[in-house]
Structures are given as structure tokens and as C-alpha cells.
């Protein structure tokens, strides 16, 4: 043991003697370790964070699919009730729906997420309230449902954590509810780790889901609920899936003949945790892979440096071996240097990681909305310690093997050669670094091309001089009123008269906004055998006539809405080209009747007035799907689409004369005057919205630029260092060649061509790796394919150029050798 410590001390002394080597190695490893520390922190925060439920891994989410294999957005009560009775793989299954409501307590209030659930939700999740109780099955019967459980945050904010909250009354959208319990701190369901759009994450209340008669039968259009279930102990997820699938198969047969909606026939299950993280997992894993590559490059680089040191010490080591040092002792001695470097580098790496996390924190939190904060913590530091040891082993193992093979003291050699094995090892490491760096560079190049393409994508709209404001409607205030007449019309009227405003429109959806989405599914229009024609999924939006003037898009057929479209005129719709193609494949679109405008026999049918261009929808990279627009000004509260479109969420879009930023304060004031709740809403320019919609790609591109750039620099440094060392070993050979009449150019060529060979092998290997791994990147890419030859070519050429430049200096040094000076050293 003391021997081992002595060796460590010896290693420290050796490092102090060569501070240049030590600093280089530490810096390079710190970059590799730091990137991983930062990335691992993010992974830990997103994928591995503890969820506030008992035994989380047994919570599963079943999803229904209809007979066409289409995913359904929940399950109906009759089916759930059957499962509760007949599924023997589940210990419980709960159903949930949630919506945003305005909560009033005494004289204050805010928008909250109101979750309505079956009474067993809390037992399925395995969580008890911290005070009071949760609701019972009886409270799900209509008329008894006006009880509510508060989140810890709301209890703190409105009741100052006073236990006498129990029994008090609050209002949700104006209805009174009695508080019966408060959930523990950190509890939320549906899980919301971050900030959601509608309300602060913690602002949740839970109330019983009333089982009204129409919910309990299969008579009308089914109400869909989300599901959460708990596996019985010892039951695997696959077993549960098979069980539910079988069950649903039987249940589907029990549906009444002539049931006119899609019948759920199959079930897929997923763990709740993976449902939460699924969306981020691929991209995070891609970035983590990039980090690991960077780390491997750094390790290879430092291994190369250590190898050189080991060769330089070979004689000294041979002496030790001759004096009886055992092999393990020699290996440990060689490893100890790597260990010291790696430990110090980990310290520096944590610092780098902290800096990186601070720099990217905002962008990360914006993209990943299930986490609230990202910071280094103990699990990460612990993982990092393991990582440091791993790094030391990976870096030190090659030199250690070399060391342990020194057979005996060799007498002074009379020919000129560096150990061939070591040379091959060193060059192998360089090739390895080149290959991985190229992979990172190619990934970076692909991201940059994607960004370029996104930036130059023809949008079909103008984005300049537009301001958009995004707001939720305090709908309970307009519950018995016509929000169109009372809020929207005046808002448009007054906005239009602002001096800098050319045109103003209100829409539930504007291009590139992902905050609100209404899915419209048109079932079985024709008796078609082709399942694709059986239903069309489209985005439904409501807008006003000036939307075209604001965004300046093209109409392909017919007209857009205009001032003549009012509540008294014929209801019309405008569809986009994608919808027209999918729904009326024969091309006859204009004047086609669409759907009943109202429930009831006497309802007028809406007809198609025009076909518009496909506009970008939720994000630039998303495919432009079918879209149906209705006119806000034709809506009245009793119309079918009034509730789903006009009464939740609106965007005001304004075309300005001058710099749009100038108009923002005016609009803010105006909206505040119209409804006090609209005072603090987000108002931004359309150019900003476009930029934000590239956020994922932007972040990935920046990170990959960082990784790719670092990898390139480390690799070039490695190439440079290795060639410099090789040249120093070959000084004598070069001198002899010069004495034999070689010109300086010949020597230059020898070194450069060696570099070129390494580069070409490395680049070839890198190309292979790029092809093999490209598909993991594909989800990030837009238009460009992951095996894009142009990107690959540019990356290779860039690398080759930089590589030859890095090789030029050692080559020049070799070529400038004065042969006589070296030959004299006989």
C-alpha cells in the first residue's frame, strides 16, 4: 500500500517536472469530462428524475387503437368499467380529464389546471393527501362532485398553509367547491415538472369526475379519458398489454350493432415514465452520444501523450524491471499518472460543466418543459467520480500494456527506428480520433444545413412587420355571453384604429404557433374500402377575414373570408390544399357542403368558399397537414364549433406600418383595457416566433458546433503532437536521407504523406461511422438526409485541409534539419 502511495507521489513529481504535458492532458480531458458532466446532468434531470408517486415503475399508460389502427385520444367510460371488472393484471386503473379553469378564492384568483378523475386516482398513484382526504366513489355520482383537493402550492398561496382550509369554499369558473384535502408538496398529476403554458405547474386542483348517464353508455359521441394504471405485483408490462388487448378484443365484439363511431379494438401500454420522457429521449441520447465521442477522442489523445511518455521512459522502466519490479507494479505506476491527470481534469471538468449549464440553461429549459431547473447534484458528481476512474483506465491502459512488455535492457541500438508497435498504436489512436471527430463534424454540418434550409424555407406567408399576442380567454366570464360580440369584435375594431396598424386579425391558430390545437376527425365520409379515405384528421381553426391581409398568403381557389361573412350569412369554411386533396380527391372543392353548423335538424350546412395555400403549422419542420378554417365572425354560442374554438384561446395578429416592436406597448395597453386578465400576456413579433420555432435545431446545432469544434481542435492537436514526436524520433533518419541527397521537399513529402494517409484512413472510418449512426440524427434533420454526400465531402475537405496544415509544422521542422548537426552526434 505504501508502495502504491509512493508510486502516486512519484507520478505527481513526474507531472510537476513536465507542466506543459500535464496542462495539455488535463485541459483536453477536462473538455471531454466536462461535456459529459453537463450532458449527464441534463439526462439525470430529464430521464431519471424521481417522480412523486409510489413505485413509479409499475405505473403504466394504456392507449387505445381503433379498427383502422389509428391511435385514439383516450378511452370511454364503458370500456374502462369493463377493464376495472375483468383485467386481472392490474391492481387499479384510473381515468382522468383536465382543463384550464379560473379559480377564485375570496377576492383573488388565477387560472388553474382542474383535473377531474375517478376516485381511485390517488390509490393508483399511491399517494396520500398531506391533510384531509381525497374523494370517494360516491362523490362521482352527479350532484355530489363539488369537492376539491388542492395542490400544496395553491394551499400555500391562498391559505398560507392553514389547516382550517378544509371545509372552505372556492370557485372554479364560478361554481362552488368544498376543499376536502391538500396533496403533498411536489405532487402533481398529470406530472408537470416545468412551466406549462396555461398556468404555473403547481397550480393544480383535483375534483371527482361526475359519472353522468350519457358518459356511462355507448349512446352518443364518447367522452374520452386519459388512463393511468398500476400493474399487480409480479406482472410484467407485456403480460398486462396482452391481457388488456385480449380483453378489448372481447369488449369490441360487445359494442352495439350500428355503433357509428370508431370501435377501440386493440391496446398498447407504455410506462408512465417513458411516456413523459419519450419526446426528449432520442434527442438527448443523440447529444449524449456526441459527448461520449468527444470524451473518447480526449481519452485517445491523452493516451497518445502518455504513450509517448512511456516510450521515453522505457529505459528507466527496463531498469526497474531488471531490479525486480513486478509487472503489476509497473502497470500501476503507469496508470497512476493517468489517474492523477484524470482526477484533476474531473475537477476542472465540473467547473466547465457548471459554466456550460449556465450558458445553455435557458435554451434547455425552454425546450424541455418537464424539468424546472437543471443543476449539478450529488448523483452526477458520484457518476463523475466513476467516470474519472474509467477515464484513467481508458487513457492509461495502452501505455501500461506497453510498459509491461519491456523484456530486458536493450543495448544501445545502431540503427534508426522507433518501436514499430508503439508507432502503430500512436497512429491508431490518431486515426480513431479523426474518425470520431469527422462523425461529430458531419453531424454538425447536417444541423447547420438543416438550419439553413429552415431559414430559407418558403413559408407561404410574410413574417415581417407582424406582431402576435397569445392569450387564454377567461371563459367563465363569458359563459353566458357571446365572446365574439363582447370581446373579439371590439378588440379588432379598436386595434385596427391604432395609428401604426394596417390590419388586425384574430385566430385560434397562427402559423408556427404550437400553443393551441384542435383536432378535427372526419369519420367515414364515404363508404370507402380504402381505410385512408375513411377518416381525415385535420387541424380546426377559427379566424377573421383580415388574417389574409396580415399574413399575405395565397388563395388557390375561391376566396378567403371577408366582411360579408357574418352570423346572418351562409356559413362558409376555407380549407387548405392538403385537406382538399385528402377529402375531395376528385378536385371539386368549391361549394361542397361540409358539416352541420349547428346541432339540430334545421341546421344550415357550411360550404367551402375557398382553398388556401398550405401554411406552416406547429413548427417549421413539421409536415403541413390538412387544415380547416372557420370564420370567427360567423360564430354564435349555439354553433357546434363555438365551444371548441372561440371560447378558449386566441391570437391577435397585427400587421404594422413601421417597426413592429413599437406597437407592442400600445397593444398591451389596449388589451388590458378590454379585459384586465389580458394585461400580462406574451406579445412578440412574428420574426421572433419564426426564430423560436427553430429552437430545437438551433440548440442542437450550437451544441454540435461546440462538440465538433472541440473535437476537431483536440484531434488536430493530437495529430500535430504525434507527428512532432514522430519527427523527433526520426531526426536521424531524416539527416541520413538528406546526406544521401534528399531535397528538403522530399522530407516534407514524407511527413505530409504519412499525415495524409492517417487522415484518409481516419476520414474513411469516420464516413462509415457517420453512415452507420446517421439515422439517429435524422429526426432532427429537415430536408437534408443524414447520409448527405455534400455535407460529408465538405467536412472531409475541411478536415483534410486543417489536418495537413497541422502536419505542415512538424514536416517543416523535419525538412529544415541540418543533417551535419545530427550526424555529428555519433
Amino acid at each position: 500500500m505504501t508502495n502504491l502511495l509512493n508510486d502516486l507521489r512519484y507520478a505527481l513529481r513526474q507531472l510537476r517536472k513536465s507542466p506543459g504535458f500535464a496542462l495539455t492532458a488535463i485541459l483536453i480531458l477536462a473538455l471531454g469530462i466536462g461535456a459529459n458532466a453537463a450532458m449527464f446532468t441534463v439526462l439525470n434531470a430529464v430521464l431519471l428524475r424521481p417522480l412523486p408517486y409510489a413505485n413509479v415503475n409499475r405505473l403504466i399508460v394504456p392507449t387505445m387503437f381503433d379498427n383502422h389502427g389509428e391511435r385514439m385520444y383516450g378511452a370511454g367510460y364503458p370500456d374502462i368499467a369493463e377493464w376495472q371488472k375483468r383485467a386481472h393484471t392490474l391492481s387499479g386503473i384510473a381515468y382522468v380529464t383536465d382543463e384550464s379553469r379560473f379559480m377564485e378564492v375570496a377576492h383573488s384568483g388565477e387560472s388553474v389546471s382542474n383535473v377531474q378523475s375517478s376516485a381511485n386516482l390517488f390509490s393508483v398513484l399511491g399517494v396520500q393527501p398531506q391533510i384531509g382526504r381525497t374523494y370517494s366513489l360516491e362523490e362521482q355520482s352527479p350532484g355530489h362532485e363539488h369537492v376539491v383537493v388542492l395542490s400544496d402550492a395553491l394551499w400555500t398561496k391562498y391559505f398560507h398553509r392553514n389547516p382550517n382550509v378544509l371545509g372552505q369554499t372556492i370557485k372554479l369558473d364560478g361554481d362552488s367547491y368544498t376543499v376536502i384535502g391538500v396533496m403533498p408538496k411536489a405532487f402533481s398529476y398529470p406530472f408537470s415538472g416545468g412551466q406549462t403554458r396555461a398556468s404555473a405547474a403547481d397550480s393544480q386542483v383535483w375534483a371527482p369526475l361526475p359519472l353522468k348517464p350519457d358518459v356511462m353508455t355507448r349512446a352518443g359521441f364518447p367522452s374520452f379519458y386519459s388512463l393511468i394504471a398500476r400493474l399487480k405485483p409480479g406482472v410484467s408490462m407485456n403480460a398486462a398489454q396482452a391481457d388488456l388487448n385480449n380483453l378489448q378484443h372481447t369488449i369490441a365484439k360487445e359494442y352495439p350493432a350500428g355503433y357509428q363511431y370508431p370501435v377501440p379494438t386493440s391496446v398498447q401500454t407504455q410506462s408512465y415514465r417513458s411516456q413523459l420522457t419519450r419526446q426528449y429521449q432520442p434527442s438527448l441520447l443523440v447529444l449524449e452520444a456526441a459527448c461520449l465521442m468527444l470524451w473518447l477522442i480526449a481519452c485517445a489523445n491523452v493516451a497518445g501523450l502518455l504513450l509517448v511518455r512511456a516510450s521515453a521512459r522505457q529505459r528507466q522502466i527496463a531498469v526497474r524491471a531488471a531490479l525486480g519490479a513486478g509487472r503489476s507494479r509497473l502497470v500501476w505506476q503507469s496508470l497512476s499518472e493517468g489517474l492523477l491527470i484524470s482526477v484533476v481534469a474531473s475537477g476542472v471538468g465540473i467547473g466547465l460543466a457548471a459554466v456550460a449549464l449556465r450558458v445553455f440553461r435557458h435554451a434547455l429549459l425552454q425546450r424541455i418543459d418537464i424539468v424546472r431547473d437543471i443543476h449539478l447534484n450529488w448523483p452526477v458528481v458520484f457518476a463523475l467520480a466513476l467516470f474519472a476512474v474509467l477515464t484513467a483506465v481508458v487513457c492509461g491502459i495502452l501505455p501500461a500494456l506497453i510498459v509491461s512488455r519491456i523484456p530486458a535492457l536493450q543495448q544501445g541500438n545502431t540503427q534508426i527506428s522507433a518501436g514499430r508497435r508503439q508507432k502503430h498504436l500512436r497512429e491508431g489512436l490518431i486515426v480513431f480520433e479523426i474518425a470520431l471527430s469527422l462523425t461529430l463534424l458531419v453531424a454538425c454540418g447536417l444541423m447547420l444545413r438543416t438550419l439553413y434550409d429552415l431559414r430559407h424555407e418558403p413559408l407561404g406567408i410574410r413574417t415581417d412587420h407582424i406582431v402576435t399576442a397569445n392569450f387564454d380567454i377567461p371563459s367563465y366570464e363569458y359563459r353566458n355571453a357571446n365572446v365574439v360580440a363582447q370581446l373579439y369584435q371590439p378588440m379588432l375594431e379598436r386595434t385596427r384604429h391604432l395609428p401604426d396598424v394596417r390590419a388586425a386579425s384574430l385566430s385560434t391558430t397562427v402559423p408556427l404557433d404550437d400553443s393551441f390545437f384542435v383536432q378535427l376527425t372526419m369519420y367515414g365520409k364515404k363508404k370507402s374500402t380504402d381505410p385512408r379515405n375513411a377518416s381525415v384528421n385535420a387541424e380546426l381553426g377559427a379566424t377573421t377575414a383580415d388574417m389574409q391581409r396580415v399574413f399575405g398568403f395565397r388563395m388557390l381557389q375561391g376566396r378567403f373570408f371577408n366582411a360579408q361573412d357574418t352570423v346572418t350569412s351562409q356559413p362558409v369554411i376555407v380549407v387548405n390544399q392538403a385537406f382538399a386533396k385528402a377529402y375531395w380527391p376528385d378536385g371539386r372543392v368549391l361549394g361542397q357542403p361540409f358539416t352541420n353548423w349547428r346541432t339540430g335538424k334545421k341546421s344550415p350546412r357550411a360550404i367551402v368558399a375557398g382553398v388556401m395555400d398550405d401554411l406552416p403549422q406547429r413548427s417549421l419542420a413539421n409536415k403541413r397537414g390538412p387544415q380547416v378554417l372557420i370564420c370567427v365572425c360567423q360564430l354564435e354560442p349555439e354553433d357546434t364549433f363555438y365551444d371548441v374554438t372561440a371560447s378558449h384561446h386566441m391570437q391577435l395578429a397585427v400587421r404594422t406600418r413601421e417597426n413592429p416592436e413599437v406597437v407592442i406597448p400600445e397593444i398591451r395597453t389596449l388589451l388590458g383595457q378590454l379585459a384586465p386578465q389580458l394585461r400580462g400576456i406574451k406579445i412578440e413579433t412574428m420574426d421572433q416566433v419564426v426564430e423560436d420555432s427553430m429552437g430545437d435545431q438551433n440548440l442542437a446545432a450550437h451544441l454540435l458546433e461546440l462538440f465538433g469544434g472541440t473535437a476537431l481542435i483536440i484531434t488536430l492537436a493530437g495529430l500535430y503532437g504525434s507527428l512532432l514526436y514522430a519527427v523527433s524520433l526520426r531526426r536521424r533518419e531524416m539527416a541520413v536521407r538528406l546526406a544521401m541527397g534528399a531535397q528538403r521537399g522530399d522530407i516534407l513529402k514524407i511527413v505530409l504523406s504519412r499525415a495524409a494517409i492517417l487522415l484518409v484512413i481516419g476520414l474513411a472510418a469516420g464516413t462509415a461511422i457517420s453512415f452507420a449512426t446517421g439515422r439517429y440524427l435524422q429526426s432532427y434533420l429537415y430536408r437534408v438526409h443524414s447520409g448527405d454526400p455534400a455535407t460529408l465531402l465538405v467536412a472531409c475537405l475541411l478536415f483534410l485541409t486543417c489536418g495537413l496544415l497541422a502536419a505542415y509544422l512538424p514536416a517543416r521542422r523535419a525538412a529544415m534539419t541540418e543533417p551535419i548537426e545530427i550526424l555529428r552526434e555519433e
Partner: protein, 244 residues
């Protein structure tokens, strides 16, 4: 005089001064030397008298500080590096004390090396020359070996073949037997004598009086100057006395 200037090597008043840390070392001070085609000259003298320095200047590895040097009647003291490389490649064959074979190259490739720096020599011609010169030193059977797989004497014979391959005007050897045991040393000396008999011009530095005697002519150097044999003996004796 006119005849002397026709010599293969003609140097006059050659000096070489090394400047290190404000110390001037006069390694050569006014050397006059002629070497004719086909001659075998041995240079001897005490350690540090300037033998190696003279040989490097003769081989155009170094430049003199003063004096003139005609190689093949052509003044060479002020040529560019590239020009000197070209002449070294064509006119000079070096044999070093420590062989200086390149460990990563086979015997064949080592011998071929000077020919690869000669532009436009076809591969077949190179092969012929390599085979021939390896044949002359008796190493034709070891083409594919690496230097580390040969004995010291064999390595030096390969080095001689390498010097011969380019058919140079003169072979310059600086203590070619210095790293060899006496038996191998004698074998190499035997080889040089045979080459001389076949017409090669050789200039060799040696310590060993036995080997110096094998040459046509001995040149004695003392303190950077050419001296006669008696002079040398006298000066050495004086020096010994001084030391005592």
C-alpha cells in the same frame, strides 16, 4: 598546378571555424589537399584534430569558413542547399561509423534510398544497381531483412552497398570500423580494398594505423593542419611531454 586542378578533389587554404558561446574553435586552419580519381586516401590524426570536419566538408554536408574547394573542377563552396543535395546524391557515397541504416526499411530499400532521390531513374535500372551493389558486398541474399536482423558487420556491408549504389565519384568513410569487432572490421577493410582495386576513389578517416597502411596515401592532420608523418610524431611526443 594545372594538373592539380584537374584532380577529383582540390582544396586550397580551407578553413573551418566554429563559433560557440563566444569561443572560436579553429577546426581546420588552412588545409591543402588533392585527391585524384582512383586514389585511396586515409586521413589520420589525434582526436579533435578536424578529421570528421574535413570529411563533412568534402562530402558537402558542411561548408568551409574560407578557402576554395573544387569538386570535379567545379567550385562548390557557395552552392545552395538544393544544389549541394543534388551533388551529394550523384558524386558522394557516405559510409558512417554507426552504419545509419534506416530501421523501418529493408536492406533492399535502404540501398535503393539514394537512387530514389535521383529524378527519372526507372525502377528496373534502380533494381539492377541495387542488386549489383549488394552483390559486390556479398549481401545479395538478405534483401528482405531489416537492419535489426543483421549483425554489425553485415549492416556495415549493407551501408557500403548503399554508398556504392549511386555510382558516386568518391566514397567518404568516417571510421567505418569504429563500431565493429576486429574480425568484422578487417572484413570491411578488405571490402574497401577490393572496391579500390575495381577503380573506386576512397577517402577514409581512421584511427587504426594498420588500416591506414592499406591506403595508397596517408594524410596526417594535427590541430587542423596537414602535417608530415615525422612532424606528427614529433608534435605528439611534445604534447605527451607537456601533459606530464
Amino acid at each position: 598546378m594545372a594538373i592539380a586542378e584537374q584532380s577529383l578533389i582540390h582544396i586550397e587554404a580551407l578553413t573551418k571555424v566554429f563559433y560557440t558561446d563566444e569561443i572560436e574553435t579553429h577546426a581546420l586552419s588552412g588545409i591543402h589537399l588533392n585527391i585524384d580519381r582512383g586514389e585511396y586516401v586515409a586521413i589520420s590524426g589525434p582526436s579533435g584534430c578536424g578529421k570528421s570536419t574535413l570529411l563533412s566538408i568534402l562530402g558537402l554536408l558542411d561548408t568551409p569558413s574560407g578557402g576554395s574547394y573544387l569538386l570535379n573542377t567545379r567550385p562548390v563552396e557557395n552552392l545552395s542547399f538544393a544544389e549541394r543535395s543534388r551533388i551529394r546524391n550523384q558524386e558522394i557515397g557516405f559510409i558512417f561509423q554507426s552504419f545509419n541504416l534506416i530501421g523501418d526499411l529493408t536492406v533492399y530499400e535502404n540501398v535503393e534510398l539514394p537512387l530514389t532521390y535521383r529524378s527519372g531513374m526507372p525502377a528496373a535500372e534502380r533494381k539492377r544497381r541495387v542488386d549489383e551493389s549488394l552483390g559486390r558486398v556479398g549481401m545479395a541474399h538478405r534483401l528482405r531483412h531489416y537492419p535489426s536482423q543483421l549483425s554489425g558487420g553485415q549492416q556495415q556491408r549493407v551501408a557500403v552497398a548503399r554508398a556504392l549504389a549511386g555510382s558516386p565519384s568518391i566514397l567518404l568513410a568516417d571510421e567505418p570500423t569504429g563500431n565493429l569487432d576486429s574480425r568484422n572490421g578487417e572484413a570491411v577493410m578488405e571490402l574497401l580494398k577490393e572496391l579500390h582495386k575495381d577503380g573506386a576513389t576512397i577517402c577514409m578517416v581512421t584511427h587504426d594505423p594498420r588500416f591506414a597502411k592499406l591506403a595508397d596515401r596517408e594524410v596526417h592532420l594535427f590541430d587542423g593542419q596537414v602535417v608530415s608523418e615525422e612532424d606528427l610524431r614529433r608534435k605528439l611526443a611534445a604534447e605527451r611531454e607537456l601533459l606530464q
